[in-house]
């Protein structure tokens, strides 16, 4: 206990019962993760996480199975593999990274970076003739425009004045 109280008491002076009572009081005064971050209440539970993992496993199996089916034309196979990859990507981001449930700002920041990267490197690939599809660039530019507009709209919303969030200080003493 001496350490808990910042070292002011050099030797333990409380009985075991008193110590338990003081510890209980200290624990009760600590805000839970849910109190500090109310958005956590919207997060899914373990069962839903396992279900998402099952879906991801099936999608991976499907990818590998498609790879071995020689009857599928190459163009269609590439489209299917890209589609399944995008599906798995979205499932992990939306469910495991909680973008589906968390604040829209996180979603916009991440999607903004993703779309910028996609557009930039699409332009690079087309410029160096690795891809020959102008419509892909136009699609990417449309996506960038969408993200920029949504960010601007977010910025225009009334933002609460300087908010103060209580956060745990970090290390326990002792």
């Amino acid at each position: 206990m001496s350490e808990v109280l910042g070292g002011y008491i050099q030797e333990p002076t409380l009985s075991a019962g008193d110590e338990r009572m003081v510890e209980g009081t200290a624990e009760a005064s600590v805000p839970s993760a849910l109190e500090l971050e109310p958005e956590l209440a919207r997060h899914p539970g373990p069962f839903q996480y396992v279900m998402v993992a099952v879906v991801l496993a099936v999608a991976t199996l499907l990818e590998v199975a498609l790879f071995y089916i020689k009857a599928i034309p190459t163009g269609l196979l590439i489209a299917l593999l890209l589609g399944l990859g995008a599906f798995k990507f979205a499932m992990v981001v939306l469910w495991f990274m909680h973008l589906r449930f968390d604040n829209a700002l996180f979603r916009r920041v991440f999607v903004g970076g993703l779309v910028l990267a996609f557009t930039l490197y699409l332009i690079v690939l087309v410029t160096f003739s690795s891809l020959r599809a102008l419509w892909l660039i136009l699609l990417a530019l449309a996506l960038v425009a969408f993200v920029v507009v949504s960010l601007v709209r977010l910025q225009r919303r009334p933002v609460q004045a300087e908010t103060v969030v209580a956060q745990p200080s970090g290390a326990e003493h002792g």
Binding site: S32, E63, F96, G113, L125, E172
Partner: protein
């Protein structure tokens, strides 16, 4: 046993959101640009590798890489279960899931080391040609991210076991989790774009 009289301090934020979480999402958005550059370099050089003596179709062991991908995918599940346990205040279970995540990450990394060794033995090494360089730099950068993630996971386990990570600080676990899931989604893209599609052509 020294239970902590954990303090809270006030953090100013103009968004009403956790600054650390906003910073992590911004970092991950910037990582999209890093991996985008590496993937597009690979695609540029891979399209010119068809004439070389070593092509992806001959080189890759798709069943092996599929198992590796599955292992990394399942590590995302154990990570999110660790976070859920931590948020519930069940630190021992959270530590178990974090350890499982680190072990799955190590399995993936071990598999990558084995794969690289086999490629080098078959004459496909870093300086072989531009295609080989882009392949090793891309997958190597991803592997480095996995290794950093494993170190962070083991640090969380150590801190929690040591009592320096009380359960109300679930956000610390969440931030490491976001990084870990990002590493996973990058591999999802690499598996499709770098392994399956070039090998199928």
């Amino acid at each position: 046993m020294a239970h902590g009289a954990t303090e809270t301090h006030e953090v100013h934020t103009s968004t009403g959101l956790s600054n650390a979480k906003v910073a992590m999402w911004t970092f991950l958005a910037s990582e999209c640009l890093l991996f985008g550059a590496l993937i597009s370099s690979f695609l540029l050089y891979e399209s010119r590798a068809a004439t070389s003596d070593i092509s992806p179709a001959k080189l890759y062991d798709i069943p092996y890489t599929s198992v590796s991908s599955f292992v990394l995918l399942m590590s995302s599940l154990t990570m999110v279960l660790a976070l859920a346990a931590f948020q519930r205040g069940d630190a021992p279970r959270a530590r178990t899931w974090l350890m499982a995540t680190a072990l799955l990450g190590m399995t993936f990394l071990g598999g990558q080391v084995y794969e690289f060794t086999r490629f080098v033995q078959e004459g496909f090494y870093l300086t072989k040609n531009s295609f080989a360089t882009s392949f090793f730099v891309l997958t190597g950068t991803h592997g480095t991210h996995v290794a950093i993630g494993i170190l962070m996971l083991l640090s969380l386990v150590g801190m929690s076991a040591d009592g320096r990570l009380p359960t109300h600080r679930a956000e610390t676990v969440e931030l490491v989790g976001l990084y870990w899931h990002f590493v996973d989604i990058v591999w999802i893209i690499i598996f499709a774009v770098v392994y399956l599609i070039p090998a199928a052509r």
